[in-house]
């Protein structure tokens, strides 16, 4: 279908037009939904038939196709209240997912004229709120038809996730921006009028007067030296494609509300995902950097990665009742590198405790010395050589053959995934692990250690999830302490077992 008229000639097929009703005479035949070519000179568009949109609930829940000459008209998204330090990173993330970032304001409200025009009707813009509160984030499209309280819009999927609950808002077009790289409609979100309930291949479908449930989120920032926390409340949509990213942005944005520009920050955060019918899932993270952008993007990424395990798990989608995050914020840079590891004797006896001394080089200043004790279990064979690994959890995980990652990979159900998520620790912890060469197997989300060879053989087969991973080492003992900033690096030293060794330290042992 070719669009004609001065507007069409000026802006062509603009992102945000999706869903615009197409009439043949007085009869509604469909919605504008497809653009042709990458940078078309002619305003030629494809149309999704209205019959298909009316039957949208029965169509596939799949994302829009991302290749080919004919592609869905892209959906503009815009944010208000998102700090500039995060905008560019957020833009990259979203545009790689097929959205068009616009810098128009999204918040509700406007002139009286705008409010008066703030109703949904065929051809009017429609807004989908994705984050509300301290900052807001929304997507816009166009209404195709409203039939019996059922709002048909877009003519193509938004995220394509099927049954959804997104707040449905009125919207006002502020400006139709002509752009050779892709014209787009700049819109402002109005009032909430219902809920988007279906997000499918041929349309998004809303219901007037229905209330969408969002995930309540609280971020409490505890700046160093302040007795009370600064609390930020938000609401985030619950959808696998976006929630982890939006929660991450929300945490970082809340932190930015409480720091000045261009200073060093150290962040340690602990959070909890409250689930219906399942135990809460704790998570933690740490980041530090000289400046704001890098550490806060690290925070966003870490949250996104952690929550992604839950939202992208292959078993079930639990109902998320809330997300709470507590952030300890220091406007100084605390970051450490594991420099040396000593232990207090040449050989150890089974049952003895090894005193481990660790030298940590901070970002600036004097070397920090920490020590802790690791007990060698009874029963370790005389003459055996053990290994002592010291470092943050990510390094320890690698030294042991990535058992947590492999447990997650082989977990057979959602409770298994949640249990493993709860064991993930951030790199502000300094961990010492005593391990030795004894085979272990990860299967069905469980680590089985110190196995005889035939048990390794059997455990490597007949798995429910089809995968088993083997490592040549098993953990014997571990201990840990917390630092006030993230740690990098790690060292592994050898520890000799000798039943005749003196019980007291005789000299330091260099790695």
């Amino acid at each position: 279908m070719q669009l004609e008229g001065p507007v069409a000639e000026h802006i062509g097929i603009a992102n945000g037009m999706s869903g615009s009703p197409v009439y043949l005479g007085d009869e509604l035949i469909g919605a504008l939904s497809i653009r042709m070519g990458a940078l078309p000179k002619d305003a030629i568009a494809g149309v999704t038939p209205i019959e298909a949109m009316r039957a949208a609930s029965r169509s596939a829940a799949v994302p829009a196709p991302s290749s080919g000459d004919a592609q869905p008209i892209r959906t503009p998204v815009s944010a208000t209240g998102l700090h500039p330090e995060l905008r560019e990173w957020a833009r990259e993330q979203l545009e790689s997912s097929g959205f068009v970032w616009t810098d128009a304001a999204t918040t509700a409200g406007g002139t009286q004229d705008e409010e008066a025009a703030n109703v949904l009707e065929p051809g009017s813009p429609i807004g989908i709120a994705l984050v509300r509160g301290d900052w807001s984030f929304a997507a816009t499209g166009t209404v195709t038809a409203i039939e019996d309280g059922r709002v048909l819009a877009f003519g193509h999927p938004f995220l394509g996730t099927g049954d959804v609950q997104f707040p449905m808002h009125t919207a006002t077009i502020i400006h139709a921006l002509a752009d050779a790289a892709g014209s787009r409609m700049l819109a402002r979100i109005g009032s909430e009028v219902g809920a988007i309930v279906d997000d499918r291949l041929v349309a998004v479908v809303g219901r007037m007067e229905r209330k969408a449930e969002m995930i309540p989120m609280v971020v409490r920032v505890h700046p160093a030296g302040e007795s009370s926390a600064r609390e930020t409340r938000l609401e985030v949509v619950d959808t696998p494609g976006l929630t982890p990213l939006l929660v991450g942005l929300s945490v970082s944005n809340s932190i930015l509300n409480h720091v000045d520009r261009e200073i060093a920050v150290t962040v340690r955060a602990s959070g909890s995902i409250r689930l219906a019918d399942h135990p809460d899932v704790p998570f933690e993270l740490a980041a530090a950097g000289d400046g704001l952008v890098d550490p806060l993007i690290s925070v966003s990424s870490a949250v996104q990665q952690t929550l992604g395990m839950l939202w992208n798990n292959p078993f079930d989608r639990p109902r998320v009742e809330g997300i709470d995050v507590d952030v300890d914020l220091v406007t100084e840079l605390h970051r450490y590198f594991v420099e040396t590891v000593h232990y207090d004797r040449q050989a150890v006896r089974p049952g003895d405790s090894v005193r481990v001394q660790v030298a940590l080089r901070p970002w600036r200043g004097e070397t920090v010395h920490e020590q802790f004790e690791v007990r060698v279990p009874h029963g370790v064979a005389d003459g055996k050589e053990l290994r002592l690994a010291v470092g943050p959890p990510s390094q320890i995980e690698r030294a042991l053959g990535n058992p947590l990652a492999r447990r997650l990979q082989t977990a057979g159900d959602l409770p298994g995934v949640l249990r493993i998520m709860g064991e993930l620790r951030s790199d502000h912890r300094l961990v010492a692990v005593l391990f030795h060469e004894a085979p272990s197997v990860v299967r069905d989300g469980t680590l089985y250690a110190q196995l005889p060879p035939t048990a390794v053989h059997l455990l490597s087969r007949g798995t429910r999830t089809g995968a088993a991973f083997r490592s040549r080492v098993s953990r014997l003992a571990s201990t840990q302490l917390e630092m006030d900033g993230p740690i990098s690096g790690g060292l592994t030293i050898r520890v000799k077992v000798d039943t005749a060794a003196p019980s007291k330290a005789v000299e330091e042992h260099q790695p």
């Binding site: 089974p350 279990p377 009874h378 029963g379 370790v380 064979a381 005389d382 003459g383 055996k384 050589e385 690698r398 030294a399 042991l400 053959g401 990535n402 057979g412 298994g416 391990f435 030795h436 060469e437 004894a438 085979p439 299967r443 069905d444 989300g445 469980t446 089985y448 250690a449 110190q450 196995l451 005889p452 060879p453 035939t454 048990a455 390794v456 053989h457 059997l458 455990l459 490597s460 087969r461 007949g462 798995t463 429910r464 995968a467 088993a468 991973f469 083997r470 490592s471 040549r472 080492v473």
Partner: protein, 740 residues
């Protein structure tokens, strides 16, 4: 009992034999050893202790297949069994009819790693990695006997007075739970898990460890290492009434230990079984990249890659009764007749080993891993499999029928299938019959022919077998009145269809080149060590014959033309050659030489008219093939020239040129081309002369030279001219050059 040697002859091939096929062209496939038989498929058949195919014991499928690992199986009452299944953990009670009831089901990824009957119809179960021992009296009626304080409960046994013994790891411990007392840890093996236990009525406990492969006797609380195996793991133990201990060990590299074993008896090797061929591939699930941390790099110590042994430990000696290099031993049980049944992976094989060390492979179960085996007081044998999990009961009786399928036999090319024969003991009333099918894919599939039964007289309709390069033989064994048949060898003979020789090159050597054989060395003059008859040719048929070369020497001879070639035969047939020649433009080839066996031919071409020719080389494999089957391949040479005419000098002229002379002449070679001209003045040396056009390459070349007088005392009186043509023919003249 009859001992028969049977053969079945396929009709088409017997006809060929009747007309006198050269025996050297017949190939044979045969299988007569356990290793060779194991390449085939056993369906209701097995291999006996002497490596023969026999009818397998009757088996009854009781339960499965399900996903999961069966760690242990113990007998229950009335032909029932308890099965320790993991993934998720369950203790199943399976009655004699195969009906399964879950007596216990874990709600997590616990493993049920050991079972022991309580003697009252219930069972003890070891739960890992919690290290917990449960007592299951009935479905859902579960009590916790002990928290062992360890991770795995690898072995459970009940002893006199209802005492329960547990082998754990890690830490490795031998624990005792008496009805009237609390738990006791009687011995610790540290990080060496106690993998197996046996408890005698005399209260002696024998334990096997799972890291250092030790067999430890615990008597009145005192430990003593009976045996320190070369394998890493003692997976199962058994003890006879006279105190003899059987220890089944599985391979792997032992855990290091700085201390020597407490004692070790003399080890004698009684018998080593034949090794099965190496397996293809590895079913490991490791995802090992190039840059893995140390923890993930391949380590032999935790790869149960196959191998193990059965040891007999008596008061006086330790004997290695049976070994395997490819199977992975998991479990064993003593049969009532004094034999030991061993369950192994990765092919689900069950072995029957008698005390002398003779081992028979019983029918394999359908699971890859025969991971547990037990027997009950009635002598019934139960075998459990893993991935897929299942339970089979081995009966005392033989099957009534069974089949053995050979591997697909590859002829290498389309073949005429000949004889199917076997050697067997066929007791009264038993029988063996054969069938074949053929195809052209490596693995039999729906494109193969249907099975064709071979008639009693061995004749079948030849049209029933399409042209093919692979054949599979199926033997059907039927039980007799008192015993079943046993096949000790199976053979198939066939004649691969002949393939044509291949000529790789045909070279026309430069004119005059001859190739002559070098006289044989003195050792070769002794003659062949074997006679050149069909029998010995067949025996040496593996030796490459087509490429046999005699040493030669290259020389030069006027008028000679030589052709040399390289040819081969894909069937290694001996080749003979024929050469024909044709003048360019002629229609007919004229024979030049025939019956050649070498790969060159030198020919005196001086009697042949000058001209351009080609030769045609024809290679034939008729020496090793019947006349109707012999094939030939021909190759035509590039054009070459026969030039026997001498070149000549014409148009000689001498003219005064200042104080000197200008000499001019023409060299001609009608049959070929002038290759070189040399001149010599008076008695001087020959000097090359170049034609006016610079290159001597045509049949007429014009030459011109100035004989200067300046600096010379006098002009030469004569000049000799020598002309050589491309064929090496010489011509020339002697001329006066000082005359005006």
């Amino acid at each position: 009992m009859r001992s028969v040697s049977r053969c079945v002859t396929l009709g088409m091939f017997s006809l060929t034999l009747a007309v006198g096929v050269d025996a050297a062209s017949i190939d044979r496939w045969s299988a007569s050893t356990e290793r060779e038989f194991l390449l085939g498929t056993f369906e209701g058949t097995a291999i006996d202790r002497d490596g023969r195919i026999e009818l397998a014991p009757q088996t009854t499928h009781l339960w499965g297949p399900e996903s999961g690992i069966v760690w242990d199986i113990v007998p229950g009452r009335k032909g029932s069994v308890f099965v320790a299944l993991s993934g998720p953990g369950q203790v199943l009670f399976i009655d004699a009819d195969g009906a399964a009831t879950a007596w216990y089901q874990a709600d997590d990824e616990s493993l049920i790693t050991a079972l022991a009957p309580d003697g009252k119809g219930g069972v003890y179960a070891g739960i890992s990695p919690q290290g917990r021992i449960l007592h299951l009296r009935a479905p859902g009626e579960t009590t916790v006997v002990a928290e062992t304080g360890t991770t795995f409960v690898w072995a459970l046994k009940t002893g006199p007075g209802g005492t329960l013994w547990a082998g754990t790891g890690v830490p490795g411990q031998i624990q005792r739970y008496r009805k009237d007392g609390g738990p006791e840890t009687l011995f610790e093996t540290g990080d060496d898990p106690v993998r197996s236990l046996v408890v005698g009525t005399d209260g002696v406990v024998i334990a096997g460890t799972g890291g250092r492969g030790r067999v430890i006797r615990l008597e009145r609380g005192s430990p003593f290492v009976l045996f320190d195996a070369s394998e890493a793991e003692i997976v199962a133990l058994a003890r006879e009434a006279d105190g003899t201990v059987w220890a089944l060990a599985a391979g792997g590299v032992k855990q290091p230990s700085s201390r020597p074993p407490a004692t070790q008896g003399p080890v004698t090797r009684v018998r080593v079984t034949a090794e099965a061929p190496p397996r293809n591939g590895n079913s490991d699930n490791d995802s090992e990249g190039d840059k893995k941390p140390e923890s993930e790099r391949p380590a032999a110590s935790f790869r149960a890659s196959g191998g193990g042994a059965l040891y007999r430990i008596s008061r006086t000696a330790i004997d290695t009764v049976w070994t395997t290099s490819d199977a992975i031993p998991f479990d064993m049980t003593l049969d009532g007749d004094g034999t030991i049944l061993i369950a192994t992976g990765d092919k689900g094989q069950v072995w029957r080993v008698d005390p002398s060390g003779k081992a028979a492979r019983m029918i394999p179960i359908a699971s890859n891993q025969a991971s547990a085996i037990t027997s009950n007081a009635a002598g019934q044998i139960f075998v459990a499999g893993t991935s897929d999990a299942r339970v089979e009961r081995f009966e005392r009786d033989r099957r009534q029928h069974g089949r053995y399928l050979s591997l697909p036999i590859e002829a290498g090319t389309q073949a005429r299938w000949g004889r199917v024969s076997w050697d067997a003991d066929v007791p009264e009333g038993s029988s063996i019959s054969a069938a074949v099918r053929v195809g052209n894919t490596t693995e039999p599939d729906e494109t193969w022919s249907a099975w064709v039964d071979l008639a009693d007289d061995g004749q079948i309709d030849s049209s029933a077998l399409p042209a093919s390069r692979l054949i599979q033989v199926r033997l059907k064994l039927a039980d007799g009145e008192s015993a079943g048949p046993r096949v000790s060898s199976l053979q198939v003979s066939y004649e691969p269809r002949n393939r044509a020789p291949e000529i790789e090159s045909l070279t026309v050597e430069p004119p005059g080149v001859v190739i002559v054989p070098v006289p044989a060395q003195s050792t070769a003059r002794l003659g062949p060590l074997v006679a050149d008859d069909p029998v010995t040719r067949s025996a040496t048929s593996g030796a490459p014959r087509g490429r046999a070369r005699s040493p030669v020497r290259r020389g030069w001879e006027a008028g000679a033309r030589t052709f040399s070639w390289a040819a081969d035969d894909p069937d290694d047939d001996r080749l003979t050659y024929r050469l024909d020649i044709r003048a360019e433009g002629d229609l007919y080839w004229f024979p030049l030489a025939a019956g050649l066996t070498g790969t060159y031919y030198s020919w005196d071409a001086r009697s042949t008219p000058d001209g351009k020719y080609r030769v045609r080389l024809t290679a034939s494999d008729q020496t090793d093939n019947p006349s109707g089957d012999a094939l030939t391949r021909a190759e035509i040479s590039p054009l070459f020239v026969v030039d026997n005419s001498r070149p000549a000098l014409t148009e000689w002229s001498v003219e005064r040129s200042g104080a000197g002379r200008e000499v001019a002449f023409t060299a001609v070679d009608p049959g070929g081309s002038v290759a070189a001209v040399e001149v010599a003045m008076d008695a001087g040396d020959w000097l090359p002369l170049f034609p006016e056009d610079g290159v001597a390459d045509s049949d007429v070349e014009r030459y011109r030279l100035i004989l200067p007088t300046e600096g010379q005392s006098e002009l030469p009186a004569s000049m000799r001219v020598r002309i050589t043509d491309a064929a090496g023919n010489l011509g020339g003249a002697l001329k006066q050059v000082d005359a005006d």
